[in-house]
Amino acid sequence: MLNTLTQAFALITTWEVIIAIFAASVYGLVIGSLPGLSATMATALLVPVTFYLSPIAAIATIVAASTMAIFAGDIPGALLRIPGTPASAAYADEAYAMTRKGEAELALGAGVWFSAVGGIAGTLSLMILAPPLAEIALSFSTFEYFWLAFLGLMCATLVARSSPVKAIASMFIGLLVACIGIENPGGVPRFTFGMTNLFGGIEPIPALVGVFAVAQVMRAMLTPEPPPIPRRRFGSILAGQWKLTKKYNWQMTRGNIVGIIIGVLPGAGADMAAWVSYAMSKRFSKEPEKFGTGHVEGLVEAGASNNASIASGWVPSLLFGIPGDTIAAIAIGVLYMKGLNPGPTLFTEKASSMYAIYLMFIIANIIMIPLGIIMIRLASHVLRAPRATVMPVIMLCCAVGSFAIGNNIFGVVIVATFGVIGYVMEENGYPVAAMVLGIVMGTMIEQSFVTSLIKSDGSVLPFFERPIAAILAAMAIGALIWPVLVWVWRKLKRSPVPATSAR
């Protein structure tokens, strides 16, 4: 244990890793704080760069950039009422109300302080949860993996803030995309339409870049530019945060726990954690009437929650290769690229790398406090960069980055195609995150499904025979029929009303 810890320290105290963490932090802070550029997009655009780094440095950039970007989304949320990332949308109103009351320092300070606390709590959960779960996961067969992956996909559709039917449809689209190529049980070209470029299948990363970055540039073409941030001078950012920590200790802990649970659930990420925690904070608050008028309590809970979910989202990613959210989906791609294939054996064979990941999370969350304060002070300058100068650079990064992943120009075609697909889907209420998870998990779910079917000789019964498989199956099927039950219940409750009004 101590030995692996020293090894882990040795792994991360190279210049390459230190520079990578620092540069990725600055990058994450800037992208995260620009309205319209989300944390997922920041991470996706970073992948081509990680290609050329050592494994630990590559993961370090992902960890640092995603952690910073989730916090940095609070900055324009508080100053402009425009959340920088979707994860800050839940409490942007509240934070802006505080700014109008002249408490911008307190709101932003709470953002940086409780984000750091939440991030560290999430990391601790990753350290504590992952190894024992890995022990259990070692005895999993393809049946359990199938149900686990299925459950993951169902969770992704359950938490989407849109119609569950559309979310399930998005997920199927993603799975269909994953069908393309020759990497299937028979090794035959499937849905390739004779195009050699499609034989290798659709890489998740260019698809992600298309869905999250190109689609965003497309949206920017039709929406008016957000107003620039008014210049202001800030007082002390961290003053009073310790008092808040003591006063809202329970809220903070609850936010951490909720964030951790939502992060571990496959498919549900930081934005969901923030919405749930903010709603919970309001529900259980002693002074709910103050919410919406610039009350810091909800900020504490939701800020702690969304950053906690980032670290705990890595638990299912590292253990099963099932992403906890879209950022973790990108991380899985990087892990595979770097020979750290997700799976329970990762914790025994590459223990020092795992400890290095924990350490990087903790370091990233600690340096977030000073870097975050600098970013807040510089915000009025950075956020002045007009969209017309940022978006063209993003376009170039999309083109070059997707080319760099395979040194194949076809990657750029994929990015453009998925930009259109992502834009159309989002416009019509189909959540793209569900599709992304489908693409990432498609191969895995097909493999476990077909292998299980071959093992069971085409019978469905063995899918439910092993105890853990049965539990997972029950949960997955429950998740599938849950929206149906809710729908029927709502119909039953509502049907008498129009009947009486018709008379």
């Binding site: 039917v165 559309k166 399930i168 449809a169 017309a388 100068t389 376009m395 170039l396 729908w487």
Partner: protein
């Protein structure tokens, strides 16, 4: 590009049916009951069913309207013309333009055009767009080609490094 649910739903029915049919046609693995044909069959059927449900408006009641945050002072209304909506296709079109032309023209020139067009489309004046179109491609080239050794096409204007 907001389409009625009926249209997107029926499109998904078609897509699902095509996928199921295409999967069904795939050759099975000899001596195995299941092969590469099973998964597309399942996915396609599921997608078609979802498409039907969407076309008939099932699950609509769950949809939350986008939580739009009004900006103080009122937002400037975007001009609405017939061709205005087509601007949205500019980014993917530019990327395809890059695919078609980058090998012949080289990275720097193609990238400069993409930057200039995108920047102008987003409302930048030429005083901003032109320097950006000169500097951004060189910067990106420096990072990706020099630092990360991505083989970007040199074309007619190779960089000295």
């Amino acid at each position: 590009m907001r389409l009625p649910d009926r249209v997107t739903g029926l499109f998904l029915v078609g897509l699902g049916a095509a996928a199921a049919y295409g999967g069904w046609q795939l050759p099975p693995v000899p001596g195995q009951p299941v092969g590469p044909n099973v998964f597309p069959l399942v996915i396609g059927t599921g997608l078609a069913l979802c498409g039907l449900a969407i076309a008939f408006g099932i699950g609509r009641s769950f949809e939350e309207e986008e939580h739009l945050i009004p900006v103080e002072g009122g937002q400037p209304q975007p001009p609405t013309g017939k061709l205005y909506g087509l601007r949205v296709l500019l980014p993917p079109a530019l990327l395809l333009f890059y695919v078609a032309i980058a090998d012949r023209l080289g990275f720097i020139l193609t990238a400069a055009m993409i930057v200039y067009v995108t920047s102008t489309a987003l409302g930048a004046r030429w005083k901003v767009a032109l320097p950006l179109a000169l500097l951004a491609p060189i910067g990106i080239h420096l990072i990706f080609s020099k630092l990360l050794r991505v083989p970007l096409p040199p074309g007619v204007l190779p960089m000295p490094w």
